[in-house]
Symmetry: C2
Subunit: 339 residues, 2 copies
């Protein structure tokens, strides 16, 4: 049994038992400022001072969204929390809470589950949120569901549908680095710790979400499927075209160096990686189609003075679809789950 929240060395999830595991997890998950009833009851209760709540859910599956060989338990906790809380921020809300469904093989070390909880708690703390509830189940492989909640503080939500021709397009946070990190890991190329970390532990710019809302952003999205794909969602929902200028993207080192290192590691005629994120080795492709950095892309009325973390990369135009340097983008548009 887990005693006092500390598993014995080598103790498994099954050995700890459900109640012991939950108690040990809860000990690593402190309540947040909005928590009225936290972990341990049928449901959590949160304060929502402005009379509304933002809510989103993401599912992360071992083998599809993460690999236990590549990611530590803490990495997975960070990444899972980031994925959900970035969606909350993309509505212009401040993240307040996370609920976590955890399916886990009984044979995994209890320590693994506790490190996952620590990663979740740390990423929540970065975003100003707290884990307030969850569910556990035995599973054949690790399954994570992350529900993010957030607080608009009286502002209107920033949806995907408000972009207007003439608006400027800006991005906060990293682009293409998680895709480069994925390609480096897939090719087993050593080095580039910053890019590998971008894949394993993305750092969404949470504060930029409410900031954009306060600046009058007309639309916003979490870049999770890839820049072109996600701008396509805004273009469709808003009934506009969106133009990206690649000269404004940061297509420099270390992405170029990483692309050369990955290319050098491959047999010349290999098709390895085609159709997977990062399968195209061009840094520009990583920037345009890599999603897992969880940058925020938003449109703003022309003339708005943007803080430095918002980099203008294009404009909103009449029409439909996404244009890259004036032309429809010819590469793969981003991630498609069921192909």
């Amino acid at each position: 049994m887990i005693a006092g929240g500390s598993p014995g060395p080598g103790e498994t999830v099954a050995g700890a038992g459900e109640r012991g595991l939950i108690a040990a997890l809860a000990a690593r998950l402190p309540p947040g400022p909005r928590t009225r009833v936290g972990i341990g009851d049928d449901a959590a209760v949160l304060g929502t001072p402005d009379g509304s709540v933002v809510a989103t859910v993401d599912l992360l599956l071992e083998g599809r969204h993460f690999l236990l060989d590549w990611s530590s338990a803490a990495d997975i906790g960070h990444k899972a929390a980031a994925r959900s809380l970035a969606d909350v921020a993309a509505m212009g809300a401040a993240p307040s809470a996370l609920l976590v469904g955890l399916g886990i093989p009984g044979s995994l070390p209890a320590r693994w589950a506790l490190d996952l909880a620590s990663g979740l708690a740390e990423e929540c703390a970065r975003a100003g949120a707290a884990v307030v509830g969850g569910d556990t189940a035995a599973a054949d492989s690790v399954v994570l569901s992350v529900t993010g909640l957030g607080d608009l503080a009286g502002r209107a939500p920033v949806t995907r549908s408000g972009a207007r021709a003439g608006d400027v397009l800006a991005v906060a946070g990293a682009l293409g680095r998680a895709a480069a990190g994925y390609a480096l890991l897939a090719a087993a190329v050593p080095g580039f710790p910053e890019l590998v970390a971008a894949h394993l532990r993305p750092r969404p710019p949470y504060e930029a979400g409410p900031e954009a809302a306060a600046l009058g952003a007309t639309s916003m999205i979490d870049v999770s499927d890839g820049l072109v794909a996600d701008l396509g969602h805004i273009a469709r929902a808003s009934g506009v075209s969106i133009g990206v200028e690649t000269a404004r993207l940061d297509v420099g080192e270390p992405l170029g160096e990483a692309a050369r290192a990955v290319a050098a590691s491959r047999p010349s005629s290999s098709g390895t990686g085609a159709g997977t994120p990062g399968g195209d080795l061009s840094p520009l492709a990583w920037l345009l189609t890599g999603g897992e950095d969880h940058a925020l892309a938003a449109t703003f009325p022309p003339g708005v003075a943007l803080p430095p973390r918002w980099r203008v990369i294009g404009t909103v135009l009449p029409g439909a679809g996404v244009l890259v340097d004036g032309s429809p983008y010819a590469g793969p548009g981003g991630w498609e789950h069921f192909r």
Copy 2:
């Protein structure tokens, strides 16, 4: 492609594609009265008029929580929604919204996913809630995460920790019927449609949750692990003992008849089903340890006049643990996920 929300005959999830599938699912999931931003953006936005929100998550996995051979897609939708919304009701809240994470093999018929959505929507409608958001992912087997949100309408939440010696214990909703239905299905005994339905599509008494809160319930829980196990949660959290009187439980037909039919179907020395829900064939064991009916158990101050759907089945006592007819219960206490 799914056109106009209707998949072609035999079309698979992979054939429909993620965007087509989501559009077709969304067409079956109407917004509810609290929905300000619904399906299709980075996150949903819900009204929370009393300045708080109740939130809970449950994970349901194919092969552990349901079997595709036993349950139709609509059954699974009903059951998944019920599991989460009953937790919301057990806090004394009216369910308002559901978010659904769906992992699904690309080879499943698109029709299956749409029927699942219809089941989710129908159960939400029973509870006064609506599906407001979700996520889809390709998976090797069906994975469902259901996040329930609810509204306390200004009442304090009813937690597990407020039971006091002298309170009465009462239950609303069915007990033991889902466990009987499980045993019938496991033994392939025909007939007993009402009990089988209780397993496949439990019907939690959602309205009884806010009703109990309004009546001054001192503690409440969703009976999901089994009556004895869940009363144990209240006893521990409240620092009391809880006594159940079996004479007040409805140990009659059709449970007795079902138990005899299951017993008659088994080889006399078979151990089949031991350790599984419904593995013990006594109707009393089903009543005391079967959880999936999602009844609500609550404690009330002595002397409260209870509406008929709340059946008094025991009392709260000084001490610790759960007593059945004055003695600690000797059978299995209920469901343990990692054994």
